[in-house]
Amino acid sequence: MNEPILELEGLSKVYPGGLKALDNVDLTIRKGEIFALLGPNGAGKTTLIGAVCGLVRPSEGTIRAFGHDMASDWRKARARIGLVPQELSTDMFEPVHRAVSYSRGLFGLAPDPARIEEILRSLSLWDKKDERIMALSGGMKRRVLIAKALAHEPDLLFLDEPTAGVDVELRKGMWAIVDQMRDRGVTIILTTHYIEEAELMADRVGIINRGKLLMVDEKEAMMSRLGRTEAHIALANPISELPQSLSQFPIEIEQGGTSLCYRGGDGTGRGKAEVAELTKALIAAGIDYTGIDVRESSLEEIFVSLLGEEEAA
């Protein structure tokens, strides 16, 4: 699990117009993990994928995949990398089966009809194998792209916005497909701006904005480190100031003294325990309350907060 299969060092990309799409990115991807790269539109996610997959020429830095330098020994590395692009770019006139078989051959593997059948069946495409891609729905076309990327049995798979613009049902189907691939031992790097997707699937999360990798961490560690608990306590009677006995809690009066707001904890549940202590302290101080609303911050809030800090900096 800890063996690195992709290492980016000082990776930068400046487009001819002067746009710095990647700014000194260092990143190591471990074998077998699902890594989610989060970032708003234009953050540099697709450029990073492009740089690894050979679609973008890096301006600076090195990329090593499976121990091979992608600048000099790219053939061996590329043969083990699959890419599902964000755009539905397929040869619309080709039948599904032929398009997927082509991809296998293009990556230098001998024809293997049984393997192609297995891939098509796993993606529920077998019934559509003789249909032209142009006749398929958007969701099916995305599956064809996944099938093409899996045709050469990659060890590392890039999914660039795999669920962008697809409905909820199909999105869940995609998550199931990613689970299947994880079970097969495929390392997956996915980009998304659906935080829920990263929260659900990823082992590690990287947050990128304006080409800079702001943070990379285990999903749980990130939530633990940056997560917060927020509680709103509706008071039975308004108060104008907090008694001294409550000064140890990170609370403040809100809504004209009719409510208290607690913001604290660390994403591990410590906040909830502290809210429970707070309620006891309120009773002890003679402050009655009528309701409590407790909420743990999500990865999305962490993400938004990080981006906000970066914008401010």
């Binding site: 492009g50 679609l55 043969a79 040869d91």
Partner: protein, 254 residues
Amino acid sequence: MIGWRSTWSIYKRELMRFLRTAFQSVLAPVLTTSLYFIVFGAAIGGRMPDLGGVDYGAFIIPGLLMLTLLGETTSNSSFGIYMPRFTGTIYELLSAPVGVAETLIGFVGAAMTKSLILAAIILVTARLFVDYSIAYPLLAMFYIMLVAAAFSLFGFILGIWADNFEKLGIIPMLFLTPLTFLGGTFYSIDMLPGPWDKIALANPIVYLVSGLRWTFYGSSDVNIWISFGITLAFLAACTAVIAYIFKTGWRLRA
């Protein structure tokens, strides 16, 4: 090291693309060649003298062959690489473990194959109208392959250079076809009045038509070695440009 499986996949797919429109691909040159023979061969050719001892109908065969060969080879090859760029499917080629050799042998080889099939169709069609024989058939075939290779490479460059359909069509339409018409397809350069006979020699297509005509009938406007030399020089120039394109990723990689 060339990845032959990758090469074969590209080659096969490009040929399949040709076969998808086989009816049009085959019928169009048959019809066009037939029309040329009816108009120039039968209607006008009957009143033309022999040229260098060759019947006029037979004389125009190498020119007609070159006319179709240059146009079809260039457009097949340019479309072959332009369409993946236009539709975005080029991502797969660029991310695959294939280099310049696999790409060129695949795309250009397929374009050459299509051209040779078309050349065979034109020759068979011509036989329906004119009685002719080829003096050096192996040399003719080799020359056709050489020209097909050069213009496949040229079309490949065109397909990478073009960033819209207009640009893709403008070079064949505005330069290639007129130069071929003026390149001795339907006449011998000797028939032109001065100084046009000299000016015509600045047209590179003259050397191609003339070279092919020599392999057919053993005589032509220009020395066969000059024709071969110019064809090889064009082939080398196109190869150098493509090597530069792949080295720099110009218009291929962002």
